[in-house]
Amino acid sequence: MAVLSQKMAAHHTHCDGVFARAEAAAERADWAACALDANAFRDDVLAHFAVEEDTIFPAFEAATGMTEGPTRVMRGEHVQMRDLMAALVAAAAASDAEAFSDAAETLLILMQQHNMKEENILYPMCDQTVGNDPVVCTAVEGLV
């Protein structure tokens, strides 16, 4: 029953790891590695958002009728994170340590509190409502 929760939370952890690599590269001013990892991080997070916004959230909204509730909040925070990830990638490309730190600090805490809300509240609700939906299962399995 809790496959969706586990897989999506594991993917959060994976994205955290790529973020940490990018930040570590920035700390040692290895901007080539930082740019590679920052891009990989953004791509992984965008893939995660796509599974949520295109598959899980619509299925959840259809199953519960809650279109103005948690999924709306999550979509709003995705917009904020997209902006910060764009700033992060641009700072890495420009080898700009200060701009990278500015984007990374805010992005990290925003992302972590977002993940916490998903993992503690939204995903368990999705497990119960759409956890066995084959379309949802396929999309979740596709995240690596």
Partner: protein, 413 residues
Amino acid sequence: MQALSFEQAPPPSVPIRFFLTAPLFMLLAGLLLLIDGEAVMASRWTPAALALTHLMTAGFMLQVMLGALFQLMPVAAGANLWRPSVLALPVHLLSAIGAVLLVAAFHHQIAWAYQLAVVAIGCSVLAFVPAGMLALSRPPGTSHSLIALRIALLAFFATVLAGATMALARAGLIDTGWLRFSSSHVALGLAGWGCVLVAAVGYLVVPMFQLTPAYPRWFARSFAPLMVLAIGLGMVVLHPTAWLPLIGLVALFASVTLDRQQRRRRAKLDATFRFWRFAMGCVLFACAGSVLMIFNIGGNAVALAVGVLAILGGFVSVISGMLYKIVPFILWLYLQPRVQGVPPMTRMLNEQWVLWHLRAHVAMIGAALLATLWWPAVYLVGSLMVVSAALLGGQLLRVVGRARAALRLAQPS
């Protein structure tokens, strides 16, 4: 299905009014040390020492803890307080005024001030605790943080109850025999309310800020309930050694936290992380000192050092580190959807000044430990505490000022 609540964070003014009040109590504590330092270091039972202790606990710590609960309960636990904007006003005013009255009562031994302090803090607690427990009873989850928050809130109530009883005994209204509750009051306040609340928050923010592994499930599940049992044991068994399990549990929390932080995946060491790590080290030394106290080793100096390490080293460090992270984030999160060009969190603060606060804070603890052996060092402690309060308060005001400026730019009048 219950509607999700995590969008219902209170307006930023709700927690921030508490956070901005807290440094004023630290400033008063620093001034008290400069004026009355010798009496503070003479014994932890002098009027000046009790006044100082309560400036930091019932003043500084309580303000931040209440403000943090207003923010944390809905956001992290899905526990929505009833009309937080309305509730925050009396809770904030009564707790702050009550703390000032209590400190005045201790320092000058004024009976009416004790009584008014009991009324003010009591009303604040009676407004907040039932509302908090009601909010915490609603979420269906059984997360470890939720359970720890419930226990912490009940311990808060019990702390104030024991404290109010002793205050009324000091005011001469009831028998002075009630003063024997002092050990229970300290254990309930620092361990049951303070440490369990730090644990409830730590389960969430330690992994979040430094990308550490989560606290082990066995630990997070059992820590807060075991703390209840250990406090109960110490209160019921009238022998000092009955407090040893509680001390062991607090040391275990600090050790597990340090172990988590050791396994962090972030390379960057920010001020919040340094404040937390320093706090956990101080807590371990405070636990070792408490064991010495139980076996009557070290006398007054050890008793004072334990207070320094637990309150200033443990709680004030964690709180300072958290404020530097949480206040800019709360305001950033509020402004970002409303205003174009919100400054990043890191630009709302001056990170160099934050690091200077960390240095002043560590030096203050060192000076305070020295003062337990050689009291004139207390004037250095007082000076460093005034500096710390000014740096903390100044940075928090700077963050609020930046947020206000961003709002003004967006809404020209």
